[in-house]
Subunit: 331 residues, 2 copies
Amino acid sequence: MPDRRLDVLAIGNAIVDVIADADDPFLAAHGMHKGAMQLIDEGQATRLYAAMGPGREESGGSAANTVAGLASLGLNAGFIGQIADDQLGTIFTHDIRSLGVEFGTEPRNGIGATGRCLILVTSDAQRTMNTFLGAAQMLDAGAVDPVHVRQAAILYLEGYLWDPEGPRAAMYKAMDAAREAGTKVAFTLSDSFVVERHRADLLRLLDERRIDILFANQVEAEALAQVPDVESAVTALKEKVETLVVTRHEHGALAIRGGERADVPAEPIRDLVDTTGAGDLFAAGFLAGEAHGLGLERSLRLGAICAAEVIQHYGARPEANLRALAGDLLT
Amino acid sequence: MPDRRLDVLAIGNAIVDVIADADDPFLAAHGMHKGAMQLIDEGQATRLYAAMGPGREESGGSAANTVAGLASLGLNAGFIGQIADDQLGTIFTHDIRSLGVEFGTEPRNGIGATGRCLILVTSDAQRTMNTFLGAAQMLDAGAVDPVHVRQAAILYLEGYLWDPEGPRAAMYKAMDAAREAGTKVAFTLSDSFVVERHRADLLRLLDERRIDILFANQVEAEALAQVPDVESAVTALKEKVETLVVTRHEHGALAIRGGERADVPAEPIRDLVDTTGAGDLFAAGFLAGEAHGLGLERSLRLGAICAAEVIQHYGARPEANLRALAGDLLT
């Protein structure tokens, strides 16, 4: 039995968020679809940045937000992602390490600047994301050490990173190491555009039983199964993966494993401010529950608690101590 | 009569804030005095950054925060301050320009990185600041164009910048241009350490009638006058300057001009979160009132409104539209 030093090792985009308020006409004028994520190149990023209002910078990246949540819940987490040797890379490194997350991917030069996500938050608390991946997409298989993967109980993979070739190779390498070591593989679909571009690939991963825990929101699940409603998606996907977790925004979330199914409502909130990071923090809570062997329902509840915290303030990293918010669930 | 294209032209530190939560033992362990500002060098900045928690980055700088407030109040403002040609410099430039502030100081290389202020916020909403000035202290007289100064109704100078030699020369040059052009000179003492280090210099500026509007908080006023209470400080200083403004935190503020004196209470607030920027935004409101010819009492009230906004959220730049908050005061 390998030494599981880490509860979760995640591979994802190493990104700094730039958060600004915007209104609907601004989104329309720049051809954005509210609530979506789109990839932009450096030129587009420069033009959009020049047009948007003053920003707040905070470390982000979907799986990186998840490990930040895991650390706040008291778990041992590691992160693999590519930064450049620049000031934004320094910020990303500081923020994730200061939470106690193990982050050792060496910064590299000559691969563009550290990635950033220009996030426009509208007064309805929706976030519209424009991601310049920069160095993040230059992650390659060399950044993954099979020994490292073996030390983790769960390997968590960010679907956003399935798009560029190098990171995909890195994730295949990590999945192979996980399979050999008995490390569970969790995968988040991240966005429906990932599903649309890689549906065959993703279904093959499921058919090959390379994924043990699949995270999807309702839209992503429906897109993957190519069905028009969430229950049909659940029916189609539940046989393909050991544990299926589907989040449904304000309608709560559900999980299915074998013959068991659990549904939980969303946690009540006081002020909805910025939904950025809701899915990332839900995953953190659920994975923490899994790591503690809480069972589906309590793991879902922990996910809902973590998601509720992060949507009540700007930014996708938790501000409160999630371990404290978890209360009895984690004692 | 010169064309006063700008209501206010400010000279100050071009700095990005790095804001993190901390507790009293952390401040003590790192030898900080709660509520104060201290200058640190690059090595100290690196060590402190490594020790502190995850940060939020937001443009800062005392006078830069003030012009951000002026822009939010609908005034025409310009800013002079030194950044390096790096990512933090890009962030500073973007944020201030996106508010409509004129900022044309060329970034320079080979003078160190763009300055940053490591701000630790404790649960009592006090901010303790550790400033690595970096490029900001390399501002020199070449950055000041007398023609530019002449276009402003008010020249606003940040006392923090009186400390390093180059910026002091830049401020002397600007004051000379202001005197020739009939531009009013406003000066903020910034911090009692500035007063302690430059008391003779500052008193000489007042005696030479180079300053028309002096901003001080209670502690700075007492330090400058070397008296133990605010009323004695007011008595000692009021003859030395056309307009004296003294802020007193939760006790409100007062202003004296000639035979006239006004006192206002602090504005009521709902949640005290982070006092960073309170004095900077108070100055913005007061200067906007002056620019609109509101008179002492209403200018003080506008200052109090702006200060109340900024202390109810993290960060030293306004988040709300101050013009809207000002309501009838500015119609």
